[in-house]
Every structure is written in C-alpha cells, then in structure tokens.
C-alpha cells in the first residue's frame, strides 16, 4: 500500500444533538485524515455515532464543532463528487437496474449514459438484469445496484454506511470481495462504516476503532496484509484479535 496524499481532513469534529429535554453528545474531538485512494473502515458498535460521523463528512449534517475539508475545501453540503451508499436499500423501486445505475448521469448525453451504465452493469455482474425492477432482485443484487449507481458518476470519494449489514453472511463475503475488486480497479477513496470486526480487517487499509458514546477515536490500526488477504494467516489473526481486544476494552463486552 502506497500512502497517497491527504484527501479528507477531519479536524476537532464534535457533534451534539439537542432535544427539548436533553443534549446528547455523539462525537467528540475527532481528528482523522483519509488518504487518497485509501479504504478506511470506521469500526464501532451500533449507536456509537459512527454513522453520524459519516453523515457529517458527507455534508448531510452540520457538525457542532470542528470541520471537514476535502482537497482543502470546507464541506458544507453533499456533493456529487462524493457519493453516499445507504445503510438501508436506497435503490429507487420505480426504476429498473439500468435506470438506477444511470440515475446520477443526467448531465451526460444519452449515448454516453448508455455506455457508462453498460460498463457498470457488467462491473457488478448484473448483465441480463438491466431491465429488471428492484423488487425482482435479491438483497445482494440490490446492493450491487446501489454500489454501481455510486461508482457510475465517477466520484472521488465513496461513503458506505454498513452497506452489507442486511445481507446473509455468504452474500456479505461475496460483496466484500466484489467491493475490493471494484475499488482496486477504480482507485477511489472509500470511507466504510461497519460494526463487523472481520469485515473491517478484511477490507481496510486502516481501521479506526471508535469508543462508546460520545465517540472518540480510540486507536487506528494499519492492516499491513496485502490483498487478497489470507484470513487464516498469523498476521491477519493477530490484527483481528488486537482489534477485538480493543473493542472489548472500549465497550466492556
């Protein structure tokens, strides 16, 4: 892994939600740099605030403190250069596979759009399903559509919020392999939020381990195992167990 130049810079980020009867501090003092082309996993249990972090970085939420800069520019709103892949199924049920994948390509000409859509249909292995509607697809296929829709607009950065959480464990493994394959081909910066330790160690260049709420960065672990990773290699197991222990300390499990 060759570390690229800094792409996403998160500085002193804090987030506090105010409800009529209380204030909930969700994120505290997050400092993090994501390098260009890096696949970074943010790991923490459900409800720790990692999803909030991703929403702030994507520009959907304004932070209470601190700032997010991408290529030195302050993030204040979502941007089509940086696409968010949703936790729940965000595919549009009224559009076919083709329609969904081409959704963000409205600026292109018809011919360009066709070509781009065909490329990404093939990339996620959905040939033959171009005209199928989401309700005719399995959960894994729908998630492929969403990933393809995101990649199709050729963004610099992808935000994935537990994208494979709703899939069965075998499909999840497949999807991880697919994501790695596409990521290696397309060279995007990826921020991947997950609560699954194995998932993070299988995918990431670095794993950011979050503490319990208010979430702070507890440790950043560099996964120095080359892809394709041997999940039974001593180094892999050592790293995974280390993170497992870290999570145990952080969340008293």
């Amino acid at each position: 892994m060759t570390p690229g130049r800094p792409k996403v810079a998160i500085r002193g980020l804090g987030m506090t939600f105010t409800t009529p009867d209380k204030q909930v501090e969700v994120l505290r003092g997050i400092d993090l740099e994501v390098r260009e082309g890096e696949l970074l996993c943010v790991l923490g249990p459900s409800g720790c605030g990692k999803s909030t972090l991703l929403n702030v970085v994507a520009g959907f939420l304004r932070p209470s403190e601190g700032e997010v800069r991408i290529d030195g520019e302050l993030v204040t709103a979502p941007n089509p250069r940086r696409i968010f892949v949703f936790q729940e199924r965000g595919v549009f049920p009224w559009l076919t596979v083709e329609g969904n994948i081409g959704f963000g390509l409205w600026r292109l000409s018809e011919a360009e759009r066709r070509e781009r859509v065909a490329h990404y249909v093939a990339l996620v292995g959905l040939q033959g399903f171009e005209h199928a509607y989401p309700q005719e697809l399995s959960g894994g296929m729908k998630q492929r559509v969403e990933v393809a829709r995101a990649f199709a607009v050729d963004p610099d950065v992808l935000y994935l919020d537990e994208p494979f959480g709703a899939l069965d464990s075998i499909t999840r493994l497949q999807m991880r392999r697919e994501l790695l394959r596409i990521w290696q081909r397309e060279k995007k910066t990826v921020l991947f939020v997950t609560h699954d330790i194995d998932e993070s160690v299988q995918l990431a260049d670095r794993v950011v381990v979050m503490s319990a709420r208010p979430a702070e960065i507890r440790r950043i672990v560099t996964i120095d195992v080359p892809h394709p990773r041997d999940l039974s290699s001593p180094r892999y197991i050592e790293l995974r167990d280390g993170i497992f222990e870290e999570i145990g300390l952080a969340h008293r499990v």
């Binding site: 941007n79 968010f84 965000g90 963000g104 409205w106 309700q135």
Partner: protein
C-alpha cells in the same frame, strides 16, 4: 396474513378463478327470482323483466347515450378533482406549515357529503351539467388530496438524500423522485375517489339534468313507476362501477408502480 391469502388465491386454477364469480352471479339471480316470486311483490321486478327493460332502453336508443352522459360528467368532475387534488396534496405533504394552515379546513369539509351541497350547487350552477359535475368533483377531490399528502409525507428521506447527493435540480427532483415515489399510493387514492365519484353520479343527476343513469332511475319512477327500468339503471351503474375498478386495478400492475402494492 396477506401472504397466506395470496397463496390460497394462487392455488385456484384459472378456470376456478372465472367460474367462482360466475357461480355467485347465477346464485344471486336465482335468489332474486325466488324472493320476488315468493313475496309476490308488485314493486320489485323479476330478472327477466329487467332484461326486457334494458332491451327497451336499447331500442329507444337512450341506454348508451345515458351511460355516455353519466361517464362524461364523472370524467370531467373526476379529472378536475384528480389534477387539483394532486396539485394541492404535493405541497401539503411537503410543508408542515401549509398543512397546519390548510388541514383544518380540509378536515371540516371532508365529512360533509357532497349531497349536502345540492341546494347550493343548484343556486350556483342552475339547471346545467355544471351542478352534477361540481358534486362529483367534491366527492373525488378530498380522497385524492389526503392520499397524495400522505404519500408525499411517507417518502423515505433516503430517496431525497440520494437525489441531493447526485445534485439533482429542483424540477428534476419533483419529476424523477417525488412523483414516481408517490404514484402507488396516489393511485390507490384515485381508485377510491373514482368509486365514490361514480357512486355520487346518481344523486348528482337528480339535479334537474335530463339525461344520465341517475336521471333514468328518477324519471322511470316518476313517469309511470317503471321499476324494471329503475333496477336496470341500478344494474348498469353497478356493472360500470365494477369495470372502472377493474381498469384502475390494472394500472396497479404497471411495472414502475407494482413495487408499491407488494408487502
């Protein structure tokens, strides 16, 4: 629950699916014949007399023109209600402020039967097609507004976020996300509204017009107590109502809409 119901319907063969309703119809006709014969009523006609009545209307050449007139009035009142209902329902579902402003008015007007407007309709529109069309409009308008506003309110926020992320301009957001997202539920509202509009046509056509199925029923009784024609008019209304409903249900099977009708 709906799952097991769907399965038991699947288990029915194609022939059974046709034969069962036909059987019910035959049974109902037999029961009708039997009850009229047994009670020796002078008012309610026998099925055969109604059939003769329909034949008579056909010979006189009024049946299709009455059906056409009723359908035309419903079409106009309903179309206006659908267009205005959706046009008001969308902003109502989008803006909480607008909803607070307008909703009390809607909720007060909604339970008033369109028939209660009859005296006013006559004063406003006189003896013309506009009076029944107005009543039909009133009947169909509120179900469409309410269904549309609800549909907009329940669009998953995720869809808007995705659209925002892809930097979709406002017009495209409406056309490519909001409208397609509400179509299934609006369609259900439109189907309900059409049923009500068609139901109201009878009463609406008692407002001084001299054509239509509602007029036929009123006129047949007033001019000579022709109860065979009264029931003939009722049957025509029932059959056409069924056909309209079947037509609307067909729309629910369109590929871009079907997703909204599955659990």
């Amino acid at each position: 629950m709906s799952d097991s119901a769907a399965r038991s319907d699947d288990r029915l063969g194609a022939t059974a699916r046709v034969l069962l309703p036909v059987g019910t119809t035959i049974l109902a006709l037999l029961l009708w014949q039997l009850l009229v014969t047994l009670t020796r009523t002078q008012v309610f006609p026998l099925p055969a007399e109604v059939l003769r009545g329909i034949g008579e209307l056909l010979r006189k050449g009024v049946l299709w023109s009455y059906v056409g007139d009723s359908l035309r009035r419903v079409a106009v009142g309903y179309a206006v209600a659908a267009v205005l209902g959706i046009a008001l329902g969308v902003p109502l579902g989008r803006s909480a402020t607008l909803e607070r402003l307008v909703n009390p008015l809607i909720q007060v007007l909604r339970p008033i039967s369109p028939l209660a407007w009859m005296p006013l309709a006559v004063i406003w529109f006189g003896i013309s097609d506009l009076a029944p069309i107005f009543l039909i409009f009133l009947a169909a308008f509120f179900p469409v507004v309410v269904a549309t506003a609800n549909a907009v309110r329940t669009i998953p926020p995720m869809f808007f976020r995705a659209a925002q992320n892809f930097a979709l301009p406002r017009g495209a957001l409406l056309r490519r996300v909001l409208l397609p997202a509400i179509v299934p539920r609006v369609l259900t509202g439109l189907r309900v509204a059409l049923g009500i509009a068609w139901m109201v046509v009878v009463a609406a056509e008692m407002l001084g017009v001299d054509s239509g199925l509602g007029y036929l029923i009123l006129d047949s009784r007033n001019a000579g107590k022709r109860y065979d024609l009264v029931v003939a008019g009722m049957l025509m209304i029932g059959v056409i109502g069924l056909l309209l409903d079947i037509g609307m249900r067909r729309l629910e099977r369109l590929p871009a809409v079907r997703w909204g009708f599955q659990e």
